[in-house]
Amino acid sequence: MIMMTSRQWLATAAGVVILLSLPLFLPNFWLVNIFGRAMVYGVVALSLTFLAHYGGFVSLAQTMVAGVAGYAVAMMAPTAIPLGPLAMPYFAAIPLALLAATVAGAIVGMIAVNTREIYLLMITLALAVGLSLFAQSNITWFRGYEGIRNIIGPEVMGLPFRTPLVFYYVALGVAVSMFLLVLYVVRTPFGLVLQAIRDSDRRAAAIGYYVGLHRIASFALAGFIAGWGGVLITFYNIGITPSSIGLWATVAVLIMAVIGGLGHPLGAFIGALIYTVMDTFASSIIGHDRFNTLIGLVFLAIVLLSPDGVWGLGKRLSTALGKRPQVNADRETSL
């Protein structure tokens, strides 16, 4: 069981109900290209937040791991152009893609098992760019620079995946499931050990836990989560190319996670939503040319002024406004 206070249950349920009813009063564009897009990228950011907050690893390889799932599902997709030798129905391709991402996550964990913090950041960044460059060079499997196209996704109840309601509800279902999965896992014995290791790996080892194994398992789980995001992102983008997992895509997911706040799984989705809205509309307001300066400044301001992101800002504001302070003393992820 997911252990939450009744208050938290209530809040979660209310949030889900609101999100479920959004199609009633939002146009399709907002449904799919703002909320839907924010949720699928938010799932990848969630995997980063999970590792950062509960494991103490800021991994830049999560976009890459999502890309492993994206490329895997694209290689096996029955609609791919050009059709790969592994083509199979989507109901088989999707689980295999998730498996691939889980394995990829575990491998990243193995490479990074002995490093933490800043080294981890550097190594995972290099791994991420390495895979993107590989995908760009490999024609046989990854189709090089032009990538694998026409990955439209399965039909759901006879409707194409791109149907706004289908995409939105699938994205919502996956996002909520992954969110609850994280909340659940961190309260299991595994999750508690993980947090103990984060706080002091020597102490945890002294008590007799396999520190390395727990870390690798947490990366594998993060890989599974990111994999869901990767599969849905690939359907959303109707395909995948090396730029989908390149340096800029990697940094974008980091920006989402940090803006939203690494201190709580919800921060990933808040950050993804803010990023998506800015990415979509900032250019109409400030012009196209200086979008990067704007997003860079927002990112910088968040890191400088509120290292725990918008989530932390909101929490501090609510505390300052005299509301009941949070009972659940979540450890702040220190940056």
């Binding site: 490479i111 800043i118 080294y119 190594i123 290099a126 390495g130 460059l133 060079s137 997003i295 220190s334």
Partner: protein
């Protein structure tokens, strides 16, 4: 591999092997100049400067903005390149100094937060350089003295400027070694690596030392920028390339060690050039394979110190 392989078979000779190796060595020299600044900053402050590639670009762009009108004038043309180098170093050092004093200094010890700040800065700097200088690629014109080929034994004709890069890298290396081992600043820097708190307790002005070292490291990136933009055209996007190169070089060589940086640069430079010859398709990946292998066997890098 196709034809590249065949062409290579035809050409396998001592001359060919030496030429490619020397190409790797000269590329490594450029990498060393840039990465040594990155390593120096990391060595003292544990700051991973993700904007190091941006400082490289600042050096090149500002250097060029000063160089270009001088080169066009009759009086200054012969000195334009040297003045461009000075301007590039100065600009990068000033930006670096600003970063350390205004932003990074007061979050000393929060390594991850510092890395994120520099990521934000690198996004802004790249966009502002585009706004200020436009997106047109450019290059410095090799000064008369250093232009053209020279005769080397066995290899034959070889560009003088590439040899100059090696000389410069050796000079930078020796200079850094002297600085770190023979000066008071160097003693303080090395002590800082081991115990920063103790250093402060001994009355050393740590913020001043930190600012000096940051400016020095940034200046080396700026120097690399001008040298790099003389050897190869400069275009937007090289910031990411040189940041990644710096990361890989110091991860392979060992953090905070000048010797390790030199070794890492040498390995990566040679791997790039030989990779291009032996398996052109995947040569870009080779550097990352080397990195992963080194990490698996020597997690601290080849010449890195074990954590205490």
């Amino acid at each position: 591999m196709g034809f590249a392989g065949r062409a290579e078979e035809e050409n396998v000779s001592l001359q060919f092997i030496l030429t490619v190796t020397l190409n790797g060595l000269t590329l490594a020299s450029l990498y060393f100049i840039v990465a040594s600044g990155f390593s120096l900053i990391f060595g003292l402050m544990r700051t991973v400067n993700m904007a190091h590639g941006s400082l490289y670009m600042v050096g090149a762009y500002v250097g060029f903005a000063v160089y270009d009108p001088l080169y066009a004038s009759d009086v200054w043309a012969s000195h334009a390149w040297l003045i461009g180098i000075a301007a590039g170093i100065l600009a990068a050092a000033l930006v670096g100094l600003f970063m350390q004093v205004a932003l990074l200094g007061w979050m000393q010890g929060q390594e991850l937060r510092q890395a994120l700040v520099t990521i934000g800065l690198s996004i802004i700097i790249a966009d502002q350089l585009l706004a200020l200088f436009g997106g047109n690629p450019f290059r410095f014109f090799t000064p008369e003295l250093l232009f053209g080929p020279t005769e080397l034994p066995v290899i034959g004709r070889y560009p003088i400027f590439r040899l100059f890069q090696v000389v410069l890298a050796v000079a930078v290396g020796i200079g850094l070694w002297l600085l770190l081992n023979k000066t008071k600043l160097g003693i303080v820097v090395r002590a800082g690596v081991d115990d920063r708190q103790m250093l402060a307790a001994c009355g050393v002005n740590v913020p001043l030392v930190a600012a000096t070292v940051f400016a020095l490291g940034a200046g080396l990136a700026g120097l690399g920028g001008v040298i790099g933009a003389t050897a190869q055209p400069m275009a937007l996007g090289v910031d990411a390339r040189f940041l990644l190169m710096s990361l890989v070089v110091v991860i392979v060589g060992g953090m905070g060690s000048i010797g390790g940086t030199a070794l890492g640069a040498l390995l990566i430079g040679l791997a790039e050039q030989w990779g291009q010859v032996l398996f052109p398709t995947y040569s870009v990946i080779l550097t990352f394979v080397i990195m992963a292998t080194v990490l698996a066997v020597w997690p601290q890098g080849l010449l890195g110190r074990k954590p205490t």
